[in-house]
Amino acid sequence: MIRRAIPVATALALALTACGQQAASPQQQQQQGAGGAPKLELRTVTAPATGELDKVTWNLPYEPQTVDPIRSFNYAENTVLANMCESLLRLTPEFGIEPGLAEKADNPSPTTWVYTIRDGVKFWDGTPLTAEDVAASLNRHLDPALGTWWGDYFHTVESIKATGPMQVTVTLKQPDVLFNQAMASAAGAIVSAEYAKKKDLGSPTGGVMCTGPYKYESWKSGDSLTIKRNDAYWDTALRPKTKELVFRFIADETTAVNALRSGEVDGQYFYLPPAGLGQLQQSTTGSVTLGKSLTFWTLLGAAKTGPYADPKVRQALSLALDRAAISKVVFQGTAVPQRTLAGAEYWGYQRDAFQKAYDALPPETPDLAKAKQLLTEAGSPTQTITIGIQGSSAVHEQTANLIKATGEALGLKIEIKVIPVEQYGNLYSDPKAREGIDAFFSTWYGNVPDPLDIYTVFLAGSRTNFNDYAAVDADIKKARAAYDETERAALVTTIQQKVTADVPWMPLNNLPVILYMNKRVTGAVASFPYLYYPWAAGLGAA
């Protein structure tokens, strides 16, 4: 078993710096980077727990829709599920991929992946994990009627079969490196085959049956979801320190911040800074940790006609934008300006190659003169550009206002269209909802440490290639088939360069994980893999 244990010394150092951080004001936490942008101390872990706890209460940003892995592709769902259902591979807090329920993954031919299932693993009900369970779980993604949310990773799959008692073979239509990596996310989560036949799987009445360190206990719809320690968990290194974890669903930010400050709730992960972030940072009952993340703040292009369909116009707007201002004003100093969509945390291989390619790109500081010149070259368009923003979100509104002001300084007319939060999701899935919208904001994230995971959205015909951007289609196909990392890195950096120059999606800021924990508790994973890794296993008494 490959396991990257954190050496005691490192953990201690982290603990010490974490303590020091508590006393510092938010401003002191940030060193000033280039162009006045904040340079943040981003972590992957928090100080280790010193003892066990009977119960920890944790808040989710909203109530999960389900705990069925195939429909768990969002913050609240995965935060819970990550502690219950394990995947074939495991995404570590340091963004590595290591064996999970599969002891090893072999790749005998470019279109075959063979997974050897770990021996001696049991579901919570005591039945042993077999290849049949694994094949059944993965095959659920291929049944259109079940409506998987992970379809992007299964488009290349031809068949998934148990080829031995402890062996599963996946045959692909074409070579695909992302398929295997996705097995480290909830896409590769394994549910008992027998249990998965239940019609209400994943609902408050149906629950779920997995192998993870915590087991499903109860879900009182609208109120709370409880999970309990699995005392028979196979991986003794990740045996939970807390017996019971109760999740609440306080969606109202002010109420959530109050509940955290009063200590009624022990912790929460935020994906956007809440309006009361300052109160949390100054709280005497707990502290905020910023974690490394795969999430980024971006303006998704959706225009097929009009000025925003012209790469030069997009480039001009992108060049003129003051990303450091967005970071300071909108994200209260917690986000780092980005010049590419996929940030440094995605560089799971060939780091040097990616670093070099990143440094060669134009910096994220504004260049108004060049932007104006580009607009003149584009024929100084006079038509209005419409940006869709999510209603009742300060982050959306403030960023849109900054972009609007930037556009006005350049001579671009920008209009803002507010869309209610519950309908905002339609923009992603329904072309009709996107009519008349040239661009809209998103907190997008990839799931695996490979920039290709992000750029693959620009495949021709992909449902998320909203403006039919076609320049990198062939390169993406080649890169997905490139199992050799050097070759893949070369292809991916080429894709990145084109995408960055053409701005089909505009990179804005990298969004860290914002973790708040009460002083009483510590040990939670601070980085983005909390969505797929049993982040609460280390959670215990401070």
């Binding site: 389900t66 949310w149 009624e264 519950e422 999701g425 992603y428 909802a433």
Partner: protein, 310 residues
């Protein structure tokens, strides 16, 4: 008996019309539940087709409405599209929270409003001025402001009450729902105080009270038998109207205090086009409205038998 039968028939007609209107209006609004059924990022055309067929999203409006109605008559309110769970199960615990909150708030409104109104009406002078001032402040402050202030003072500051949640068990529920119930009741209590004060003063000046006084009857007897009884009719009307309004007003309070009530479920379901939930909640709300009106009518007849003889 005939009175009750007539009211029940009326209730069924109102329910039918309301459910049809809501079902139809939801159809007219753009956007569908697909985003919630398939997530934001994936979904092949085959998948979309399979899901649409599974949930009958392509059936004509009248067919879907008829199918829903058929099931509803048998007590089956269908399955939530978004949560893929029985609507009745989703509503059960939430209805308890909302009912608890509304009853609690009603008690506060009646006790507080009537007490303040009587004080102002019977005592007059400084008491009247004070009640009038307090009720103006309560009437003018929106519930969300009151809620936030109560949380800051009594939950975060003094630590007397919890910040959120509905609680478990009777005592714990009372503890948890006190701040929400106060938030919900202040404006209505203030309004009721004004109505009570006005009708008490009016009754005090009426001829039969003067007559009773001149006959030398005890003041307490006069107030109980001649003033309160007659003043109660407008008070009951206002209480009835307010309680019906509380059900709608609870939405704001439920969100401030993170309560799992019907109101928050309803709003979310409308925005997500979760037809089955919207339907069921509308039925519950309309039924509650009609039943409250019925209770008000019954109170009228108890207070003044002449009213039911018409």
């Amino acid at each position: 008996m005939r009175f009750l039968a007539k009211r029940l028939a009326g209730l069924i007609v109102v329910l039918l019309v309301a459910s049809f209107l809501v079902y139809g209006l939801l159809y007219l609004v753009p956007g569908g539940p697909m985003a919630f059924l398939l997530g934001n990022r994936s979904g092949t055309p085959e998948q979309v087709a399979a899901i649409r067929a599974q949930y009958h999203l392509d059936d004509p409006f009248l067919l879907r409405y008829a199918a829903w109605l058929r099931d509803a008559v048998t007590g089956d309110f269908g399955t939530s599209l978004v949560y893929r769970q029985d609507v009745s199960a989703l509503m059960a615990s939430r209805a308890t929270t909302t009912a608890f909150l509304v009853v609690y708030a009603t008690l506060l409104i009646v006790a507080g409003g009537v007490a303040m109104g009587l004080l102002a009406g019977l005592r007059g002078g400084k008491a009247d001025g004070a009640v009038s001032l307090i009720s103006s402040v309560f009437l003018a402050t929106p519930p969300f402001v009151i809620g936030v202030i109560l949380v800051i003072v009594f939950a975060l500051g003094l630590g007397w009450f919890p910040v959120f949640g509905p609680g478990n068990g009777f005592g714990d529920r009372i503890h948890h729902l006190t701040l929400p119930a106060i938030t919900l009741s202040l404006a209505s209590a203030a309004f009721l105080a004004r109505i009570t004060r006005a009708s008490v003063s009016e009754e005090l000046g009426r001829e039969h009270v003067e007559t009773a006084r001149s006959r030398g009857l005890a003041e307490g007897h006069i107030v109980r038998r001649h003033v309160l009884r007659n003043a109660a009719i407008p008070v009951v009307t206002v209480v009835g109207l307010n309680v019906a309004g509380l059900i709608a007003g609870s939405v704001v309070v439920e969100s401030i205090f993170a309560l799992d009530g019907l109101g928050s479920l309803f709003v979310r379901a409308i925005l997500q086009r979760d037809f089955a939930i919207v339907q069921a909640v509308v039925l519950v709300l309309v039924t509650a409205f009609v039943l409250i009106n019925l209770v008000v009518d019954l109170c009228y007849s108890a207070l003044d038998p002449r009213l039911s003889r018409q």
